[in-house]
């Protein structure tokens, strides 16, 4: 789960990390009032789950409250990477001397949380990794001990020669690690971590991604989810316990299992079609899931044909068949449907479908070919 910068900053602040004040506005007038309260120059930053906000025009300086109003107006009208900006963070502009990068992420290769730090912060960290890898330090953390003080100091000295600044950075990294672990994070990032002319080390930005599997453990974190900043169909699918990713094609796919779902999309492409989505109904069989899946898929006007590909293991294919029958009775389909199912209770499922006027196939390739030809035929 993605959370906003202002939410991540709140978590980091609670962990003790020094972060300048800031307030969230949902309108230009609010942004103006906040800027007036802070006085002086402020930064107005789009709160949206997308990287590259600066390049997209989502981060602007404003010297006066009136200017804050104007830039907030513009930013609140932006769409960044398909996501509309609904909130802005208004924060006093800081005097920056140097910019560094600090991040912690779970790494599959070392099977640990790994710190990444670089004295070349403020810019795209992928660029640093590619062009000047010597400026990026990776440091795996032993989960039994956490980030120990001497380890944090080693990272601090990689960023700053000055011992006072290195100590301040080390403390921030230990605080970041504890915020990361105690929130169930899969990524926590400060970019940039800055030094000011007064010698302070301060986090100017904050980013956190939470492991979805941890949300049951941390209700307060789960409550941070901002559904207004996500794709509505993906929100709908999540609430129905489906894994759904919207794509641009016209063959709507309903599959059980992520690997088979991906292989099905690949096969749609192989036979010259384009998948409209990734949708995994998961392992447990429940007709309600199929009803929800069909509702979500048919709400996409691009979908010209629907393809079911179910290999029943835990999933009982008769449950899927019942779901299809129920869903199409509630909302008759306007596009053709191709159903492939095989596995657990296949005979019952095929009979249910036949009795309700559906035909079903048992071969994956044949089903995909048929769905593609129906979709392209309809599109032509």
């Amino acid at each position: 789960m993605n959370i906003h910068e202002y939410q991540a900053k709140e978590i980091f602040r609670k962990a003790g990390i020094p972060i300048p004040p800031g307030e969230v506005a949902t309108s230009a007038a609010e942004a103006e009032a906040i800027a007036r309260k802070f006085g002086g120059t402020v930064v107005v930053k789009a709160q949206v789950h997308a990287g590259g906000r600066g390049k997209a025009g989502g981060v602007k300086l404003a010297k006066t409250p009136q200017e804050a109003r104007d830039v907030a107006e513009k930013i609140l009208g932006l769409t960044i990477k398909d996501l509309p900006v609904k909130k802005v963070l208004v924060t006093p502009a800081a005097d920056i001397e140097t910019e560094a990068y600090v991040g912690v992420i779970v790494d599959r290769a070392s099977k640990r949380a790994v710190f990444m730090v670089s004295p070349a912060g403020g810019i795209d960290i992928e660029q640093v990794a590619a062009e000047t890898p010597e400026k990026l330090m990776r440091y795996p953390v032993d989960p039994r001990y956490g980030l120990m003080p001497f380890e944090a100091m080693e990272l601090g000295f990689f960023l700053y020669d000055d011992v006072k600044k290195a100590r301040a950075a080390a403390k921030i990294m230990q605080q970041l690690y504890s915020a990361f672990v105690s929130s169930g994070g899969s990524l926590a990032e400060i970019n940039p971590l800055v030094t000011t002319p007064a010698g302070d080390v301060v986090a100017l930005d904050a980013k956190m991604v939470i492991d979805d599997n941890e949300l049951d453990r941390y209700p307060a974190i789960a409550a941070l989810r901002d559904e207004s900043s996500e794709d509505p169909s993906e929100v709908d699918a999540r609430n129905a316990n489906l894994t759904f990713i919207k794509l641009d094609g016209n063959v709507g796919c309903v599959v059980n299992g992520a690997g088979l779902a991906m292989a099905t999309m690949d096969l749609v492409k192989y036979y010259g079609g384009d998948p409209a989505n990734f949708l995994d109904i998961g392992g447990s069989s429940n007709p309600e899931k199929v009803v929800n899946a069909l509702r979500i898929i048919t709400s996409d006007p691009n979908v010209k044909a629907i393809l079911f590909n179910i290999f029943g293991g835990i999933t009982r294919t008769d449950d899927v068949a019942n779901g299809i029958v129920t869903a199409t009775k509630q909302n008759p389909l306007k596009v053709p449907i191709v159903i492939r199912l095989t596995g657990t209770n296949e005979e019952i499922a095929l009979k249910i479908l036949k009795d309700n006027g559906f035909s079903a196939m048992t071969d994956m390739d044949e089903a995909v070919k048929k769905a593609v030809s129906l979709a392209t035929g309809a599109a032509a």
């Binding site: 992420i105 290769a109 899969s186 029943g312 596995g343």
Partner: protein
């Protein structure tokens, strides 16, 4: 022969009285797996289906039954503890079916299990089956048939698809292993490939990967350098949009974006036949 499990596997089920645990325990017994006990705290002393003894702890179960393998069906928040309890009780082979285990939990489980000398398969995996001998997990028995091909996969239902096509084409299996799709898991491709290489009955191997990480690339190099048996492969996610599941910071560490194209190229470079479609696996095996 087979890998990891065979006729001598003595299995306990952690979470035997739960919805999934009880259903699949019956399926495993029906397939012929020796299920010697189960664990559900608070139900020690009772019997499952009037025949399988239930214990409060894994230590008790091991002491009484001499179990040498366990399969875990407990809810995600308790799965990490269940894996560590099994390793602590000295069980050498641990299979965790549970989906949704927090990845930070796995950063603790992995070194713990390793120090105890146990092999962990999963989490978030379908388990494994040595057709005609034993099955541990949820792979449907009727889609498999005994033979001399080993199969290892990161996926569940896609594995069923490929195994079923193989079975229909008369190509039986020594063992089919699902290693699971989580970022941190106990057993990887290389572990399984090495076991198949050492298994005298396995003549060739099918490897089914998917996008994300670099396990397949590492495995491809292993095949080239260490294996004498032919390997064919398939990668799911050739058309997946980049960056939806895996953050860019992850890609920085591994130095790879983990795309299907990258993995298929690694397969080809290392002499692994690449199937364009799942069904093509059958033809590639025929060509061996």
């Amino acid at each position: 022969m087979s890998i990891f499990i065979d006729n001598d596997t003595r299995l306990i089920v952690q979470g035997i009285t739960g919805r999934d645990g009880s259903f699949h325990t019956r399926q495993m017994i029906e397939y012929g797996t020796q299920v010697v006990g189960g664990v559900t705290p608070g139900k020690g002393g009772q019997k499952f289906d009037e025949k399988v003894p239930i214990f409060n702890t894994v230590h008790d179960a091991v002491k009484e039954t001499g179990a040498n393998a366990t399969v875990i069906y407990v809810p995600p928040m308790f799965a990490a503890d269940a894996m560590m309890e099994a390793a602590d009780a000295g069980i050498p082979f641990i299979v965790c079916i549970t989906e949704g285990v927090p990845v930070l939990d796995m950063t603790k489980v992995y070194p713990f299990v390793k120090e105890k000398g146990a092999r962990l398969l999963g989490p978030n995996c379908p388990g494994l089956i040595s057709p005609g001998k034993s099955k541990v997990g949820i792979i449907p028995g009727r889609i498999c048939t005994p033979g001399n091909i080993g199969l290892v996969s990161r996926s569940g239902t896609l594995t069923y698809e490929v195994v079923f096509q193989m079975t229909r084409a008369g190509m039986g299996q020594t063992t089919c292993v699902g290693i699971g799709g989580d970022p941190i898991n106990g057993t990887n491709f290389i572990d399984c490939l090495a076991a198949f290489e050492a298994d005298p009955d396995t003549e060739s191997v099918v490897m089914i990967g998917e996008i994300g990480g670099t396990d397949e690339q590492d495995a491809a190099r292993f095949v080239n350098e260490k294996m004498t048996k032919p390997v064919v492969g398939f990668i799911a996610g050739q058309t997946a949009p980049p960056g939806r599941r895996m953050g860019h910071a992850g890609a920085i560490i591994s130095g790879s974006a983990g795309t299907a194209a990258e993995k298929m190229e690694a397969f080809e470079e290392n002499g692994i036949g690449v199937a364009k479609r799942p069904i093509d696996v059958v033809q590639l095996l025929r060509n061996n």
